[in-house]
Symmetry: C2
Subunit: 101 residues, 2 copies
DNA sequence: CGTGTAAGGAATTCTGACACG
DNA sequence: CGTGTAAGGAATTCTGACACG
């Protein structure tokens, strides 16, 4: 269910290596609301592989000169689409169960 | 190819939370050769989700009183089986390619 | 707006060793 | 054998701010 890809377990230094982004940039994109890493009790940021992928998309867009505000919109829309899709799948599964009764 | 699950990106503190094992135990199992985390250039240990799963298996066995040496054997055998299986799959895929030519 | 950097402090991890057994 | 712990040091991360623009 909560797959590996979504688990917030990677610290920012490793994320930096994985994405090629500086710590400053990674923190800034969070500040601007483009992604939401987890935090340990002591306040240390933790990222998932999904976050790393998001950051790679952000990096591409930034290279194209796209501003963070626009990127944020695009990301929000994408996550909404994902949400709707997942709900539809859930609905289908539930429908299947009802059929079988 | 190099899937998320195998990537060495998790630090020992998080692994401890994920597995319920103390840092001491996690390091000791490594010392005994039951698993091989990666290291950053500075020497900080980094684990994969696969390592985390291995540690959970180790924890179970230890609770049953199995010694680390025995657990190590079992793990080695398992990884050999995995290796053989993967090679067979690779062989099959190659065979498919040859058929198509 | 987006990013770099120096600053001071806090949290994390590392190793080798002693302890118990 | 397997694990805890205290010890000292090194590496990592955090925040807020100044800089440039």
């Amino acid at each position: 269910m909560t797959s590996f890809k979504e688990k917030k377990v990677i610290s920012i230094g490793i994320v930096s290596e994985l994405t090629g982004l500086t710590l400053r940039k990674i923190r800034y994109y969070e500040e601007r609301g483009l992604l939401a890493p987890g935090r340990t009790e002591k306040g240390v940021r933790k990222y998932s592989f999904a976050d790393v992928e998001t950051l790679m998309k952000i990096a591409e867009k930034r290279e194209e000169g796209v501003q963070t505000a626009e990127i944020k919109e695009k990301l929000t829309k994408e996550s909404n689409r994902r949400k709707i899709r997942d709900e539809m799948i859930k609905g289908q599964i539930n429908a299947q169960f009802r059929m079988r009764k």
